[in-house]
């Protein structure tokens, strides 16, 4: 129980950290961020009317010193009020996020889970069987892990999209369709998600495979596995209940940590596929100097990653009973 409370506390602190970083980001621009933004927007075309006031309020610059600004910022955040997007004026930031975040979550969620399951499964087998073939594919998977997601995405796009026309080249779904829960839409969504998903799965697979293989090999030489063999327990039971059960623990921890990195990589990849997830929106925001949108996106990405981390940590608490040790 203590374990869970501790974890929850940690993530609250981390969230606070993320929020605070978010607060300081626009202030990195020298001078008055609102004015700087106005002048940048003016270069790209005129700024929407009233934007200056909005920006001031968003950055809390119409208040007094930095402490009151911070406080009013926190209040705003707690109401999920991120203001209005500059590039997609007058759409509220939260509405943009609402429409794009689920796509990213679905894509990343499915592909990370899939690649974790396949990767650790194969890794456990590779560690268990110790045959030449599985040992030999390790360098191949190493190569894949070293590949940037977006380049792999380009390759797949080129091969499956441009040359072979199997899959659509961009977008999250057929733009002529309306998002509803009918089969046409869903199948279109799946079709569009296939290549990005494939990229993510293939790129991450190697890492899981390798670490699970190594951990399995180490675990197999532990005394309790040997004792289990001596007891005459069937090999499959030993692999599942004794070896893999212990070997997977570090990977679970690693999974939590990797979520942040996967999000990072997928942002770039979304651009390749023009997949309208939250990463895509972030990039648009960066290109358009849309600070309110940037802040909102950063907050929600952090929130999502932290929540996922928390869930994985809680899961870990369940599968490793040693965490319930009284300290």
């Amino acid at each position: 129980m203590k374990y869970f409370i501790r974890k929850l506390g940690f993530y609250l602190v981390a969230l606070w950290g993320a929020v605070t970083i978010n607060f300081f980001l626009p202030r990195l621009i020298p001078g008055n961020p609102a004015e700087a933004l106005m002048s940048r927007m003016a270069l790209n075309g005129s700024a929407p009317p009233g934007e200056y006031k909005i920006l001031l309020r968003l950055f809390g610059l119409d208040k007094g010193n930095i402490v009151t600004q911070y406080w009013s910022y926190l209040v705003q955040i707690s109401h999920f009020n991120f203001g209005v997007s500059a590039t997609q004026f007058p759409t509220p930031v939260t509405s943009i996020i609402y429409h794009s975040l689920p796509w990213t979550l679905m894509l990343i969620g499915t592909s990370t889970v899939l690649s974790f399951v396949i990767g650790t499964g194969l890794g456990a087998l590779a560690g268990w069987k110790r045959n030449r073939f599985l040992d030999a594919i390790v360098p191949a998977t190493t190569f894949l892990t070293a590949t940037p997601y977006f380049w792999l995405a380009l390759l797949f796009l080129y091969f499956f999209g441009v040359i072979n026309h199997f899959f659509p080249l961009n977008g999250a779904y057929d733009p002529t369709l309306n998002p509803t829960w009918n089969w046409t839409f869903v199948s279109s969504a799946i079709q569009h998600a296939f290549l990005p998903g494939l990229t993510l799965v293939v790129a991450q697979l190697g890492g899981w495979l390798l670490s699970m293989r190594n951990m399995t090999l180490t675990t197999l030489s532990e005394d309790f596995v040997w004792t289990a063999e001596a007891k005459g327990i069937a090999p499959r039971r030993i692999l599942l209940g004794y070896a893999a059960r212990n070997a997977i623990l570090p990977s679970v921890t690693g999974f939590a940590i990797s979520l942040g990195f996967v999000v990072s990589g997928s942002i770039v990849m979304e651009m390749v596929f023009s997949y309208q997830g939250i990463g895509y929106q972030l990039l648009q925001a960066v290109q358009g100097d849309d600070y309110s949108l940037m802040q909102g996106i950063f907050f929600f990405i952090s929130l999502a990653v932290l929540l996922a981390n928390l869930m994985v940590d809680l899961l870990y608490g369940f599968i490793d009973p040693r965490t319930r040790q009284a300290r």
Partner: protein, 388 residues
């Protein structure tokens, strides 16, 4: 440390053998293979406690694993046979010939092991209940979970652990308790042979005594044979019926433990005896054994102990001594007061009369010399013994 449990009930006078090993040789593979067990032949009799003693690295544990077919790569058995003779009669089972499935069925139900530091022999993340039932179901898939639970609780009570612990995990138990669970597991299927590899080494002295009493108490009830492996010679002398001393991968002496403690035949055994201070005796300087064990990667010419032996003479460096009945009744001893002197005097035990005594030493494989025969019961100081 005197144990209350009387062991003489089970000192078998019959030579009803339950485990028979012949010419067992084990090598650890690698760039330079190490021959850890060299041509070992030994019998374990039904109902007896056979102790195997020797220093670290002499091959005792490797031998134990070879006897139960538990060797792990890079260790492989490169020669010899191990046979198990079931108490129900019937043909001897050649352990090396068993297929995987038969081996799994055989393991633990006929021969089981208690490992050194059994603390690590339990799966850290699954409950004890689960581990017990894994073991039961592996051998009898028809057992219900109730039956498993009942048997497991019985076993835990037998080793002195509250049965509520069954739902707990390994990390909730202390070292001694985990060792007891290891013992409970080893005895669960009522095997005929239990091999205990340093079962109490990692524990403190008080717990040691408790556990040993536990083990022998249970043995009273169930009547299995034990191979007890340790480097603690005095404990072994107290506890076992027969003793085998290992050095450099070979057995150099076997004898009934009550006799070997008084008058060991092999110089190495003498050295072991002398290295252990007597808790209650007079103060005397501790005499160790100079030198180091030989490198087991190489072939050994002659006797493996010869470089360190105070009694080594010509044949010791040339001819490898066989484990046979000691013919002579000589005994050598190092003069503690003057270590450069080697005294030979007649043995206080007539080893020839003890039909179980075996020793691998050239001191014992010839008739006594002229010097012996003329000075019957006197001590004779010589610095080396000439043999014809």
């Amino acid at each position: 440390m005197k144990l209350e449990t009387e062991v003489d009930q089970h000192v078998s006078t019959s030579h009803d053998v339950v485990l028979r090993a012949r010419n067992v040789t084990v090598e650890y593979g690698g760039e330079m293979p190490t021959r850890a067990v060299r041509n070992v032949s030994i019998d374990l009799r039904r109902g007896e406690i056979l102790g195997i003693a020797g220093e670290s690295g002499c091959g005792k544990s490797t031998l134990a694993f070879a006897l139960t077919r538990l060797l792990r790569p890079p260790a492989t058995m490169v020669g010899g046979t191990v046979e198990f003779l079931p108490s129900s009669g019937g043909a001897p089972i050649d352990l090396m010939a068993l297929g995987p499935r038969e081996l799994r069925a055989f393991r633990w139900s006929k021969i089981s092991m208690v490992f050194q530091a059994a603390m690590n022999s339990l799966n850290p993340v699954t409950s004890l209940r689960r581990q017990f039932s894994d073991m039961f179901l592996a051998h009898d898939p028809s057992m219900t979970s109730d039956e498993c639970e009942q048997r497991s609780c019985e076993l835990l009570e037998m080793v002195g652990i509250k049965s509520e612990r069954l739902n707990g995990f390994a990390f909730e138990l202390s070292g001694g308790m985990r060792q007891r669970v290891g013992i409970a597991m080893a005895l669960a299927l009522r095997p005929e042979v239990v091999i205990m590899d340093e079962p109490t080494t990692a524990l403190d002295v008080v717990v040691q005594r408790d556990i040993l009493e536990e083990i022998f108490g249970i043995r009273e009830q169930l009547g299995f044979s034990i191979i007890f492996i340790t480097h603690d010679l005095p404990m072994l002398v107290e506890v076992s019926d027969r003793l085998a001393i290992m050095y450099a991968g070979e057995i150099v002496e076997t004898a009934p433990s009550t006799l070997i403690g008084d008058d060991p035949a092999h110089p190495y055994t003498m050295g072991l005896q002398n290295s252990c201070p007597d808790l209650r005796g007079e103060r005397a300087p501790l005499v160790g054994i100079p030198g180091s064990p030989p490198d087991l990667r190489f072939r050994i010419k002659g006797c493996s102990f010869a470089p360190r032996c105070a009694f080594a003479f010509a044949p010791c460096h040339e001819v490898h001594p066989l484990l046979t009945t000691p013919m002579g009744s000589v005994r050598g001893v190092v003069d503690a007061g003057n270590p450069s002197l080697v005294k030979i005097r007649p043995s206080s035990v007539d080893r020839l009369a003890v039909d179980e005594w075996r020793v691998a030493c050239h001191l014992h494989d010839a008739l006594p010399s002229e010097a012996e025969m003329s000075h019957d019961s006197e001590e004779v100081a010589v610095t080396g013994v000439e043999r014809s």
